[in-house]
Structure formats: structure tokens, C-alpha cells
């Protein structure tokens, strides 16, 4: 490892989905706050095992969608009924129906952007550097291994007891990661 030498956290490896799920419950019950589980795919039930609340991505999407619909309706009203109205086939200058499709499409468009950008900002992504990505073993997190990382900044962190906890939780391999 070619880090700065300052410890970042303790990383524990697990080999099955069930073992990491049970270990996460133990870490949660030990009242750690700055820790995370790393899995190659979302493990069913892990949010509950970690005590994570429902994601707030939906709000970003909702705001995007509401903006899209409103701006679509307003835009079409402004263009075709207010700024330069033209009579076409005796149709009304504005009605809630003919602008619906473009407004609907804008709803979907901005709601989708809201969801994606909301997800990225809640996850603090993109980020170009992460201490864990330098760890050679951690590369397996996208392959078939599961990891629990407890950061040294956690108020509950104490090298000896934390290691003990992760060992009793069933980890076969524990090491330190540098910043």
C-alpha cells in the first residue's frame, strides 16, 4: 500500500451474503456510525441490517417532474397563446389537452434527471479517489467478496475491540487500510 500512512479504517472480508448480513447486524447493534458494507450487488435485507433509512432519491425526482410539467405547460401557453397566437383550424389558443404530451415528456425527462443526479449527489459521486480503491484485496468487492469497513474516525472505534467484534462476526480476513 502506498498511502500516506494515516489509517483510514479496518476492513473485514466475508465470503457469503448471509455472513456479511449477520455481521452488519452486529456492527449496527454495537452502535457504530461511520462504517459501511461493500457488496458486488445489493444484498437483500442489508438496508435493514445496517439500519439505513429509506432513500431520499424520490424527492429529487418529484421536484424534477413537477418542474418539467409546469415549465412545459407554461412554455407552450407563452409561445402559442400569449406571445404569438395564431388561429389554426379554429382550435382554442390554449387548452389543457394539446400541450399535455410535450409537458408529460418534460415531466419524465426532468424526473429522470432528478433521480440520477439526486442519486449521485446523495452518494457524493463522482469521486476520483477513495482510500479503499487502493487496497488490492478490495478489488474483489466488485467480484464475489463482501466487506465491512469501519472507519477510524468513528467515535466507537478502538483497534482491539473493533477487530474482536469483526472476528466474532465471522470475518476470515481483517486488515487496516491507509488513507
Amino acid at each position: 500500500m502506498n498511502g500516506t500512512g494515516k489509517p483510514y479504517g479496518m476492513i473485514a472480508e466475508f465470503t457469503t451474503a448471509a455472513s456479511v448480513l449477520n455481521a452488519a447486524r452486529k456492527v449496527r447493534d454495537a452502535a457504530f456510525t461511520r462504517w459501511d458494507v461493500f457488496t458486488p450487488f445489493p444484498v437483500h435485507g442489508m438496508d435493514g441490517a445496517m439500519g439505513i433509512r429509506n432513500s431520499r432519491v424520490g424527492w429529487f425526482s418529484f421536484i424534477g417532474g413537477a418542474t418539467g410539467y409546469t415549465s412545459g405547460m407554461l412554455m407552450i401557453w407563452y409561445m402559442n397563446a400569449y406571445d404569438y397566437p395564431i388561429v389554426i383550424g379554429g382550435k382554442p389558443m390554449f387548452s389543457p389537452f394539446y400541450p399535455f404530451i410535450p409537458s408529460f415528456e418534460l415531466t419524465i425527462l426532468l424526473a429522470a434527471f432528478g433521480a440520477v443526479l439526486g442519486m449521485l449527489s446523495l452518494n457524493r459521486l463522482p469521486r476520483l479517489h477513495h482510500p479503499l480503491l487502493k487496497n488490492r484485496r478490495f478489488g474483489q468487492a466488485t467480484h464475489d467478496k463482501y466487506y465491512i469497513v469501519i472507519e477510524c474516525d468513528d467515535p466507537k472505534y478502538l483497534e482491539s475491540t473493533t477487530r474482536k467484534l469483526l472476528e466474532t462476526a465471522g470475518s476470515q480476513h481483517i486488515e487496516m487500510v491507509e488513507e
Binding site: 465470503t15 457469503t16 451474503a17 448471509a18 455472513s19 449477520n22 452488519a24 447486524r25 458494507v37 461493500f38 457488496t39 458486488p40 450487488f41 445489493p42 444484498v43 437483500h44 435485507g45 442489508m46 438496508d47 435493514g48 439500519g51 439505513i52 432513500s55 432519491v57 425526482s61 417532474g65 412554455m75 409561445m79 406571445d83 404569438y84 395564431i86 389554426i88 382550435k91 404530451i101 410535450p102 408529460f104 415528456e105 418534460l106 419524465i108 425527462l109 424526473a111 429522470a112 434527471f113 433521480a115 440520477v116 439526486g118 442519486m119 452518494n123 459521486l125 463522482p126 476520483l128 477513495h130 480503491l133 478490495f138 478489488g139 468487492a141 466488485t142 467480484h143 464475489d144 465471522g170
Partner: protein, 476 residues
Amino acid sequence: MSNNLPNQVLPPPPGLERIPLVENQRSPGWITDKVAGIIEAKTPAWWWWAFIPSLFLTLLLLTMLTYLISSGVGVWGLNHPVMWGWAIVNFVWWIGIGHAGTLISAVLFLLRQKWRTSINRAAEAMTIFAVMCAGIYPLVHIGRVWYGWWLFPIPNSNGIWPQFRSPLMWDVFAVSTYFTVSLLFWYVGLIPDLAILRDRSKTRARQFFYGLFALGWTGSNRHWSNYEKAYLILAGLATPLVLSVHSTVSMDFSVSQLPGWHTTIFPPYFVAGAIYSGFGMVLTLMVPLRKMLKLEEIVTMRHIDLMCKVTLATGSIVGYAYCMEYFIAWYSGNPYERWTFWHRLFGKYWYGGWAMLVFNAMVPQLFWFKKCRQNLVIVFIISILANIGMWFERFVIVAGSLYQDFVPSNWGYYKPTWVDVCTYLGTFGLFFTLFLLFLRFLPLIATSEVKGITPQADPHHPLGGARSKEVLPHDK
């Protein structure tokens, strides 16, 4: 942690086992190696044999477009009274093909159809490339391409805005949103898989590019939690979107007053036809691909079987829509309607009318038989016939409704020119060039999603390490 407790999950009785979605109980690691291995291996010879002709056809497309733009739309076979020819036919056809990708990625996700994971990535790529091919046509068919910006909500030099009472404007919004959202959905799905490739890559260039687009993904569960929510929302948004896109396309026709176009059945009929042709294309691509890339354990016969069933279902909806169209044409008592529909089958374009009836409504009925669904040669042939049939459906709707309108002195006949044909061939080149590049550089199977549906990924399954008691407590 005692290892000698009995497994909590009992195997189902014999004969009732569920056919697995990944055969031979392959582990998550095996799946990663398999899919990433395709990209990491040496480029196979067949890839070049497919890529070079595709690239040549792409150049043909560029040449044809240059010729069209520099000469005018007169180089196409358009003439009074058929002013919408192959350009619109091909536009509708390509965009219809895209629909299966969104159906697989979004609708089947909401319906919790786990089998979608093996095919959704390739199908979404197909969607994006098909929409790109489709998007070329409306842009160039306007004749004076340099006025294309009049389609966007920008006032022209006289201060006049685009007219939103025209369905063509709705189409602009529908198609551009569809493309953008499909791309977003595809990319979001790719992020964890790009991280896989980043972590495996041996060269600096690969590390850099996959790393850049993986956005620093680590597989953190706090991230997965937001990610899964965003993915669910995107699926929920893409579902009404995909239904709206071909509905809007159909309104380009049905909002007009022309017999053959002016029908209320068009939106659902177009959507069903789109999904039908799209599944045809997915099968056309996946049946040879699974063999050439040795993916039979991930894209199993069960997947093929299920795709055939969707094809059967949508083909039957299309068949029902044809019957309704004919019934209403007769029942309306409108002589022009009756004339148009009679001439679909017995007029100058009789071959198109019969092609659509036979290939779209009748041929997929073979999929009622398991023997046909399990025979890859038959599946492949039907999948191609489906797309030929759907092409003829659009041709019959466009040219067949226009060439003989209300006044006999106004009648004419439409036939494409060599430029029409070469442009259409060229779009195939573009499609396959992009698709082959996708196969070479991106994972064609949604690796982390497939891993997530294996029993090894399920903490409540013995293969996922489940033992009695300790997994039982329910959180929250």
C-alpha cells in the same frame, strides 16, 4: 455460528423445481469472469467479419445523406400524392424496435421478472442504437435540413414559435425524451459493471476510461440503497414513457383525417406492434450471440422460451388490432374507409397487406408450441419474419393509405428509389457498427444484476450461506 445445523430452506418436491436463471449453479465470481472475459479476450475473427461490412454500410449511409442534403428530397421516391415514404416507414420501424429494450429494462423490472437481467443490457443498447437510426429520418426528411432548428422551441426570424397543436411537435419531445431517458437508464445500469471492469483492468488506458465512467463506484451499501431507489424510479418513469412514445408516433397519423390513419385504436396498436418487433430484434441478436460468445448458461433456453411467449402475446394483440381495424372499417359504413382497407389486401400494395397479416398475426402463433420455442432455428426465422412483417405494416399504413385518396384524379403510385434503399441499408450499418462496438467494449450482460438474482446472492438461501435461526430475525 454452528455449521452443523440443518439447512433452513428445504428443496422443493421433485418435478416442481424452478428452472434456474443461471444454469449449473454458477457462482457470482464465475459470472464476472465470463462476462468481463468477453471484453478482455482477443477480438474474435467473426467480430471483424461483421464489423467491416457494417462500417462500410455506415459510410454508405453518410454518402446517401450527403447526396440527399446536397440535392434535396427529390432523390427519394416521394411524389404527389405520397409525400411520406420510406423515411417515415423506417423511422417508425426503427423506433418500434427500440421499444422492446425499454420494456425489458423497465416494465419487466416493475413486474419483478428476474429473467430480464440476462438480456436487459443488450436490449437497452439495441434501444439506444435503434432510436439513433430512427432519429436520422425526421431530421433529414424535412428537406432543408438547415431549418431543423425550427423543430425546437426557439422563435424563428419572424418571431413565430413552433406550433404545439401539431402532433409533429409532440413527436419531437417524445422521441428526444425517449432517447435521453433510455441513455440515462442504460448508463445508470452500467455504473457498477464499469467498476467491475475498472477493478480487473490490466492496462492504464482501460483503468483510466472504465474508472472515469464508473464515477468512483465502490459497491458501498449506502450507495446501493440510493442506487436501487433511483433505478426503481427510472423504471417507473420509463414505463409510461415507452407507452407514450409510440402512442405519440401513432398520433402523427391518427390525428389526421385520412382513411386508414384516422382511427382511435392506433396508440395501443402501435405500442403492441413496437414491442412485438422489438422482441423480434432482441431474439435475432441474442440467439446467435449466446452461441458465439458461449453465454448459454446465462442466456438460457428458459430466457428464449419466455421471450418467445412475449412475442406471441404481442403478436396476438397486433392480430386482434388488425381484426378490429377491418371490423370498424366495415362497421363505420364509410365508403372511403372500406375502400382503403379493401385495397390493403387487394390493391396495388396487396403484398404488403398480406405480409403484415401473415408475419405479424399468424406466424407468431407457432410459439404456442413448445417445440417451436425450443428450436433455435425456428425462433431465429420467426424473429426475422416479425421484423419484415412489421416493416410492411408501416409501409402499408403510410403508402397504402396515401396513394389513393378521395378523388380518383389524385391517385398515384409510390416506389422507392435506389437512394431510399441505400439509406435504409445504411442505417443497418450504423446500428450494427454501434452494437458491435458495444459488444467489444462494454459488458453485454448486466453482470451485477445477474449476480444479484443467483441463489448465492440470497442471504436466505443455503447457497448464500443461510443457516437456521441466525437469518430469521426480521429487521426494521
